[in-house]
């Protein structure tokens, strides 16, 4: 078994990766009488660096949850190796320093979140006082302090997700593995989880989170890993993947018709009584003059960047209608 290389510390931070997988593979049995195997994850080579947020994206069934379950020991790999926080995957030692939130966590109906966090704390060997203090802190952090003594059977899906997140943080982990952490949350809950993930990075922690909501990956991730049909397509910084240069400008104008002098050949879309035009960066001045000459007004100019969604659909072999026309930041929740 080859240990991952450990690089020298730079600027006080260790370059040793938080997580490394080499050729990690998993297939599931199919059929009852005639049995076959369906590959769910194929030769995954992935590295998650210390202190980064890595978004693990892919459509449903692409192998995201399988990967996270392999890493947390819920599934046994067919082949391949992994090291977590410098320890082999099979070791128990790294589990003291990691936290995990499964997709759609189903917690214990009969427990209150306070009791559940106490239970989770006991599994880490935390002393009673420490457990009590940590539980209170975490419930405040996820906005459940008022529901601390309610049985979780009364919780909404969003509240359960928050309680699940709190249990993942009970040991103040160095590495957080989150499976669809924003799933089932209302906008306030999503904001809370996003802030919480960003706060983890500020504190020097590493976060690996899976999502099929690309805007979440785009907002939070330092790097993203794109998965399709159990295979890793690409890993990289968002800037590298998306080539974050402005691809074109979007000009919103009023009082002008498409095809007016100087606007011929431009891609235009009517939005009520306004016109949205796609303009090359170099020709912005000429287009603004043409709009004003034709008696119109320029209401706004917005740079348009290639989004993760655009990249994703290109890699998946199809573009969503109108994706290119959308401006950066005006992206739906997927």
């Amino acid at each position: 078994m080859v240990q991952p290389e450990v690089g020298p510390a730079v600027g006080g931070a260790s370059r040793e990766p938080a997580l490394v997988t080499k050729g990690l593979s998993k297939s599931y049995r199919t059929g009852h009488i005639i049995q076959g195997r369906r590959p769910a994850l194929v030769d995954l080579d992935l590295e998650v660096r210390r202190g980064e947020i890595l978004g693990y994206v892919g459509p449903n069934g692409s192998g995201k949850t399988t990967t996270l379950k392999l890493l947390t020991g819920l599934l046994r790999p067919d082949r391949g190796e992994a090291w977590v926080l410098g320890e082999p995957l099979a070791s128990r030692a790294w589990r003291f320093r990691a936290g995990y939130l499964p997709e759609h966590p189903y917690l214990y109906d009969y427990l209150t979140p306070l009791e559940y966090l106490d239970y989770a704390g006991r599994l880490f060997g935390l002393a009673r006082d420490k457990r009590r203090q940590r539980s209170r802190e975490l419930l405040a952090l996820v906005g459940l302090e008022r529901s601390a003594t309610l049985p979780m059977r009364r919780f909404s899906k969003g509240m359960l997700q928050r309680a699940g997140l709190a249990q993942a943080l009970v040991n103040d982990p160095e590495l957080l593995i989150l499976d669809e952490p924003m799933s089932g949350l209302d906008p306030i809950g999503r904001r809370l989880v996003r802030d919480l993930i960003l706060r983890q990075r500020q504190a020097g922690k590493t976060v690996l989170f899976s999502t099929h909501i690309l805007s979440d990956a785009e907002t939070l991730s330092d790097r993203v890993a794109v998965l399709r049909a159990g295979r890793l397509l690409k890993v990289g910084a968002l800037g590298e993947l998306l080539r974050l240069d402005v691809t074109h400008l979007e000009v919103l104008a009023a009082g002008v018709e498409p095809g007016a002098p100087g606007l011929e050949g431009l891609r235009a879309e009517r939005v009520g009584d306004r016109l949205r035009l796609e303009v090359e960066e170099g020709s912005l001045g000429r287009v603004v003059t043409a709009i004003e000459t034709a008696g119109g007004r320029v209401l706004g100019v917005q740079p348009v960047r290639r989004t993760l969604e655009d990249y994703f659909f290109e890699e998946m072999g199809g573009a969503p209608a109108g994706a290119a026309a959308r401006g950066a930041g005006a992206w739906g929740e997927g």
Binding site: F96, Y100, Y108, A120, F124, G125
Partner: protein, 258 residues
Amino acid sequence: MGGGLNRTRAVAANTFRESVRERVLYNLVFFAILMTLAGLLLGQLSVRQDEKILKDIGLGAMDLFGTVIAVFIGTGLVSKEIERRSLYPLLAKPLSRGEFFLGKFAGLGFTLLVNLAVMLLGLLLTLIATGRRPDAGLLTAVYPIFLGLLLTVAFAMLFSTLTTATLAVVLTVGVVLVGRFADVIRGMREVAPGVPQPIVNALFAIVPNFANFDFKSRVAYGEVVSAGVLGWVTLYAAAWTLIVLGLGLASFRARDFR
């Protein structure tokens, strides 16, 4: 080692709390009603007779209620956690599958112990209330009942790691029923001489003899169960429970949680 024990205790404590909150111990209310009714109704019989019947009913109810809990809660202990995925966050922590499995077993074992202890207390109080002397010898019947219940839980947990909760209930009830009539299997050749002896021996060997844990009538009639017999029953129960629990654990360890 100490950490492992603490984690197992944490799982056991949580399992006990679950049982209490899921109102498993409500059966004690039925037991109390049963004892009260038995005490009232049997007042008309002779002293010697009603004491025996009261003990018989009390011990029988302990065995029955305990078995129902062991089967139905035992089969749900692991399968419910898998079905509801509540064990996922736990197994990602420094909690091994073995610690989880044994913790669940210990938790339900403790629930059954508390259940039996309260019922025994109820039986003793009923004896006192109806003018009889409390009989410490009852413990020599209750202890083997407890051992049998632990073995039942081990079977319930084994089957629940192999199949669905419903089928696990059916299989566990099957083993307990067949086990209670294990002596009939041994004497099968007397009623069905055509059955080959190796088959009879094999059947007898693969099912534990639950009749070995049944001292109810003997104790009710005032017979003394010797320490030697109880020691042998303890060894028998321990051997079977360890084997069945070991098989269950091996099956649980090999499982993928998809």
